[in-house]
Symmetry: C2
Subunit: 456 residues, 2 copies
């Protein structure tokens, strides 16, 4: 009990340094999708590598990939008889547009009340720093009871194209007993959360080409099939009146919720009024026959992430556009497969698109959905740690977001993940004014300390 208190105390005393380090890595605009930030990606990876050196990790290495490097670091002081924990993180962040909606500099942390505002603060530089702070607290005041291997990739926000090949080609290096993934969040400030289910993702770009240049809508309106209209008609057909997705065989592999899971999920009080407050919509919407929390956690969706065609400036321009483009993505649930969904979308477009246009469909990224075993010792160690800090048992949740690495680690490394994280639903991740709730985050550091020590 002494060792636990000492580590908690250390983290408390070290809080300003922890915040400084968070500010420092947040100030590096590591936007993985933008080519102009590729140098920043390298800078961010180098800074984290340096941190592992400062913490006294044993073997630290930057693995270049076709895009952004993967950081590997291990600390194997516990010895070969002890289990090994593989911790996952990503140092890349989302783009910042629409930039004019930010109330302060996206890459300069600003503290206002209980919140720290900046891109990456919640997703997930704050979570990485929490892990590192907890590790530091434990190793500076005692001894880690497990071996640690840490990998931090730079491509999570672009679908991790190089992570799976890395896992496949470094099975021996990454050999572990279980993984810790702190890229999930909590349901609310006082609701410690363990995520055991994650949705997968399949992200597409669909382009429709009509005339070979923008046309005058008076001179040619009536003989040309407007590519924006064609794409609109096509996307409109992708849902039926019940909010169900109409791609052929889309639901064939969907695992239905068990009655026990339904009860646990609906215990969360994540009802329509909760989501109205979170999002500012006047009414919620979704697939008929499922509650809000079921739709997010256990049902697939298809979203229009972006649509662009023709003249979109101020005023009027009377054209029939030459082309239209949509970004479309599906969130998938066990046991759907992103590649199968790609084929389903191809089949759908082929079957439904008129012969008046040309088109192109590309899959930009994909990741598998997953379900994790909540009865393994590490999941129980995490549950107890959360209970120690928050004074109540955590809830078990299926998450709407995607952390495809969980399925990849199951398939490639044969290990399950325990999933947590100290972000909150209103952190505006992927939006302007992303933020981190500092009191929750500090509790998170403590919980991670207890978790590591519970693995004894």
């Amino acid at each position: 009990m002494d060792m636990r208190n000492a580590a908690i105390k250390y983290a408390e005393n070290n809080y300003q340094q922890t915040i400084s380090f968070l500010d420092e890595i947040i100030s590096i605009p590591s936007i993985s999708t933008q080519p102009e930030n590729s140098a920043d990606m390298q800078i961010c990876a180098n800074r984290l590598t340096k941190k592992f050196h400062e913490l006294g990790f044993d073997h630290i290495q930057l693995f270049p990939t076709q895009k952004h490097p993967i950081i590997y670091a291990d600390f194997l002081n516990a010895g070969p008889q002890k289990p090994t924990l593989l911790i996952y993180g990503h140092y890349d962040v989302q783009p910042i547009d629409p930039i004019d909606l930010w109330t302060s500099e996206p890459f300069k942390s600003r503290i206002d009340g209980d919140y720290l505002y900046s891109r990456g603060s919640s997703d997930m530089k704050g979570q990485i720093v929490a892990c590192l702070a907890a590790i530091e607290a434990v190793i500076k005041t005692g001894r880690l009871p497990v071996n640690i291997k840490y990998i931090i990739e730079g491509e999570e926000e672009i679908g991790s194209p190089n992570l799976k090949p890395f896992l496949e080609s470094h099975k021996e290096l990454l050999k572990s007993d279980v993984a810790l993934n702190p890229d999930c969040g909590m349901v609310g400030i006082n609701v410690p959360t363990i995520v055991y289910g994650l949705r997968g993702l399949a992200y597409f770009e669909l382009k429709v080409f009509g005339p070979d240049h923008d046309l005058h809508s008076g001179v040619f309106g009536g003989v040309v099939h407007n590519p924006a209209q064609v794409l609109i008609d096509l996307i409109a057909k992708m849902h039926d009146n019940n909010g169900k997705i109409t791609l052929p065989h889309f639901y064939d592999d969907v695992l239905q919720l068990s009655e026990k899971e339904k009860l646990e999920l609906n215990r969360l009080n994540l009802d329509d009024s909760y989501y109205k407050a979170q999002t500012g919509v006047i009414n919620t919407w979704g697939e008929k026959g499922y509650s809000a929390v079921e739709r997010i956690g256990a049902r697939p969706t298809l979203e229009v992430n972006g649509f662009l065609s023709g003249f979109t400036g101020t005023g009027a321009k009377t054209i029939i556009p030459a082309m239209a483009m949509a970004k479309l993505s599906t969130r998938l649930v066990p046991n759907q497969d992103p590649e199968k969904v790609h084929q389903q979308l191809l089949d759908f477009v082929k079957a439904n698109i008129p012969n008046t246009v040309r088109w192109e469909l590309s899959m930009l990224s994909g990741g598998h959905p997953s379900i994790s075993d909540t009865s393994i010792p590490e999941a129980i160690a995490l549950s107890k740690a959360l209970e120690t800090v928050w004074g109540k048992k955590p809830i078990y949740k299926r998450e709407g977001g995607s952390v495809p690495v969980v399925a990849d680690m199951q398939q490639i490394l044969g290990i399950d993940s325990v999933l947590t994280g100290f972000g909150l639903p209103d952190d505006n991740i992927h939006s302007p004014n992303e933020r981190l709730h500092l009191p929750t985050w500090r509790k998170g550091i403590d919980a991670l300390i207890y978790f590591f020590l519970n693995l004894e």
Copy 2:
């Protein structure tokens, strides 16, 4: 006959000066819709005013409006017993985006073969310059047999918001017997054309608002009605499977084509293969039950002129957008009314939009369709002039584009318009690389000379 030859000869000898003047006014980027070009609008109006002075016009005046000035100039040498012709023009041009598709500077004329490339060359600075060149040729070599009043507005490409009030408040100044409107084009190089029907326009912007900020599509996908999807569903419903527009009562006021008009229109050989060649589409499309030329000339349309929502850059961003916007416009035929169509669209949106979103509909511009009498002496004078130059009788056509001033002059000034112009369908008006076919344009100048002299 001498006077006619002398005027034709004058225009021929003066051709280089005419081209220079065209280059000069084209070099002024008079884009009416862009606030940053408002000074250019004034510069362009001043340069044309100066030209009227150079030609010796009697009364020349710039009338300021709430946006861009209207030029008025008259030349009443024929005397009060002679009829008065009101010539219409517009000195504003379309925006130039997408700028990267232009192969040379949009506002610097470039001659390549038979074509002069630049924004406004065909629509319609070239047509204004042709009129002025013809007037100059006649008055320098003889005498105009009619009085001329010339108005040139600066807001045609934004729906002429200030022209109608100007007509209404200057009925006496503008009192004339007939109008000449050279803002129409020819069907083909060897097909002299008189337009007797024009479509009207009603242009709208429709915005749909969902969540109060862009949301993570994993965290919230399944409970929020995506505003892009809502707008897509709404627009998809605006046409039925036969390509008919579904706004309530939309077709109630549509004048059906007479059998005689149908025969004349379909004599034009403007069939599907013609439009495929003109536009580069792989197949044409349109309202079932009507031929291509009927659909363009005599049937209304509804087009998506632009659509913007969410993330449209390179790569993937997994958001549910906060809003979606579409520019929508209808081309109207006699006797549809743009204000009525505005109401129909409002009714349609109210009836069809779900209660999950907020929305805004604004009408950006509107103009009435029109039909002109082809049996009046001025129409016959124009027909003969075209026949003299091209050696064949002109064809009579209903035009797909909109020149709402024709209906406005009918309603407010009580005068009909004779409509012509020497642009061609593949001039890329409203598109990158707008161009003017110089041999046709030179013939046009001659035809205008004959037209003026035929009014004797």
